[in-house]
Amino acid sequence: MSTSSLMPAGAAPVIATERETYLNNGYGWKSWLFTIDHKRIAILYLVSISFFFAIGGAFATLMRLELATPTADFQSDTYNKLFTMHGLVMIFFFLVPSIPAVLGNFLVPIMIGAKDLAFPKINLLSWYIYVVGGLFTLYVALSGGVDTGWTFYTPYSSTYSSSHVSAMAVGVFITGFSSILTGLNFIVTVHKMRAPGMTWFKLPLFIWAQYATSLLMVLGTPVLATTILLVALERLFHIGIFDPSIGGDPVLFQHLFWFYSHPAVYIMILPGMGVINEIIACFTKKRIFGYSFVAFSTLAIALLGFLVWGHHLFISGQSPYAGIVFSFISMLVAVPSAVKVFNWTATLYKGTIEITTPMLYALGFIGLFTIGGLTGIFLAIISVDIHLTDTYFVIAHFHYVMVGGMLMAYLGGLHFWWPKMFGRMYPEFPAKIAAVTVFVGFNLTFFPQFILGYMGMPRRYQVYPPEFQLLNVLSSAGASILACGYIIPLIYLMWSLKWGKKAGPNPWNAKGLEWTIPSPPITHNFEAIPIVTEGAYAYGPPPKVLGPGHDSPGPHFEEESVEH
């Protein structure tokens, strides 16, 4: 930021003032903690979820240290608490809020041409609720943790566990409302606050993704809230609703739990896919191929995602007929995801590809998400699932989609929009190194786990037969590389806030309303509400139609690239 300067005495004083942005519009903790500016709230979330990511990562580190040797280092109870807390913190305090609460909060109003979300105060409230839930979690972590697994299966969680289940259940219950309020805000905002001319099919696909995610949040999270509340009531007041000795049914808990927790995984991945659309379009300088297919596939994933939860109950005693239906629909839900991957690939084809850090993360996402998604199909087949369920195969599967997919999308998006958010570029070279480190470390960590699971190593076990040690050591080694890959951006991103190259409004030459305003934006985003006339990703001429009777694109590439 430029500072005031005065000419020498005698000359007419020229005072260069700082341009007013949302960052310097008010200083001091009160202006941040009582802000209703969606961009500041996004930064508040950025800080908090980074903190919880570190905590979740610390639990993972301890787990991988334990698993480097076949014999026990920790006590079993302790290990149970480690994997439980790792899961709870990563899912509820990092993955679920990450892109919606950070990038979504920052960008949704700007991308649709609005001055803020529909309910700015509710937005701030959602952050405070998140913090309260987080404090409950910290209390639980510091006073000994929970050992039920993040899935809280009854009756262990409701009756037999002697760990801090009630406090954790209350913490998760509270945090759920943060999610619900964010989703509610986004839904109303996208319906009611689009700028003139911004029709649904002119919206960036990032907005479609946030919208679909918000539907999932609003329809699914309340069910988790009630279910976890019942567990807490049972522990605190012994109401006995899941107590098998009086007829309580553990499978009922599983149905209610997974009714949310399966859509939750789509809550976690859809925003990532939304980010990938934006990055791919920008760094191929092409509009996303098959825009409406991608938009509808987003809604399809949201809808189908609600119909498949029983694939977590294949071995629970669920009826085989229900299992068959759930299995079939689970395979169906892969189709819209595949549609997206095909569309991204088609977008890349004959695009002007620029390998920047966000693009590295996006390309990594496409590959790793595909592997993760395909292994999900393995698990959707009941007969295969009987062997693979509760093994490391499942762990590898969901880490491929969540870490190889979602987390890389988050990092890619963070880098892509960093200059917009802070007016500073991150240093490209260390960033690329970090991206490659993450990719290598990630695969080394989790690919061996597919093999381990196939070979029969169960999940949630701290000891294993010695013949599994080599793969476990590879996995732990990969984890240490992965950790480096996460620490490097932490350092240079913070560094860039003060010493990074100043960024203009559009360092990437990207299309989108967010790139038409200054970096960082003013508090009200736009001096005047824009009128939108062009569609999303208006990068160049429409792709040529291929097929019989049409011109083949052939060597016309030079003619097609139009300066704009």
């Binding site: 700015p120 989108g512 038409t516």
Partner: protein
């Protein structure tokens, strides 16, 4: 995407000029300035409340699901346990809530037609009927407490013969569902208090009564939940003990 910023002649209303009709659309100015005009603001507020009510449908829905599963599993136990509930009090409470919904709807109509005195009276009546509901609920709960029907360790299994354990599950659901409902009722009373205070200071006019309308939506929703709770919890074994 090309953006043609609206020229200065159509600049959005400056802050603080909330009473000037200087909005782009020519419609009344909003009271919250991130909105373009009052219509957008009111539509957003209403949609926001509907979205919230959908979350409530799913929130209660999980309990209705548990109820459906367990009732299907233990029909005799549920019949027997339900017969211990006081259907008269439950029925009266149902009527109380229906009346309160009427007065709520009427109070909004009064806001629409500028009938200030009647509007205030209807708001007060709505709140009073809501409070009546809670008082009756209190009497019901204390009756259960005295008969050892709270679903905890003191539960009186003997009263239900062989179905004792499962009857306790019925009561877990009864207290969870009606308890959650009563909590929502208490929040509703808080909303009514806010509505009354705002209405008394002339905040609601035929042009601007969205705050009252969305409070009404919430109130009707709480009534709606009870319309389903009553037959499902109280009337199961009615033909056994009413005849």
């Amino acid at each position: 995407m090309s953006t043609e910023p609206i020229l200065a002649t159509h600049a959005a209303a400056p802050h603080g000029a909330s009473h000037a009709h200087a909005t782009v659309s020519g419609l009344p100015a909003p009271t919250a300035h991130h909105f373009v005009d009052l219509v957008q603001q009111e539509e957003a507020e209403k949609l926001g409340m509907w979205t919230f009510l959908i979350t409530e449908v799913m929130f209660f829905g999980a309990l209705f699901t548990a109820y459906t599963v367990y009732r299907n599993m233990y029909p005799e136990a549920f019949l027997l346990a339900s017969s211990k509930l006081n259907w008269r009090l439950g029925g009266v409470n149902t009527l109380v809530l229906i009346v309160s919904s009427l007065t709520m709807a009427m109070s909004i109509r009064c806001a629409q037609t500028s009938k200030r005195g009647l509007m205030l009276m209807n708001i007060v009546l709505t709140g009073l009927f809501g409070a009546t509901f809670l008082v009756i609920k209190y009497f019901e709960y204390s009756e259960k407490w005295h008969h050892h029907l709270m679903p905890g360790p003191t539960f009186n299994y003997a009263e239900f013969g062989q179905w004792g354990p499962q009857a306790r599950i019925f009561f877990s659901l009864y207290f969870a569902m009606t308890g959650l409902h009563a909590f929502h009722m208490i929040v509703g009373l808080g909303l009514m208090t806010w509505v009354f205070i705002k209405a008394r200071s002339g905040h609601f006019t035929p042009r601007r009564y969205a705050g009252m309308e969305i409070s009404g939506l919430y109130w009707h929703f709480v009534d709606l939940v009870w319309i389903f709770l009553f037959p499902m919890l109280y009337l199961l074994g009615a033909h056994h003990h009413l005849a």
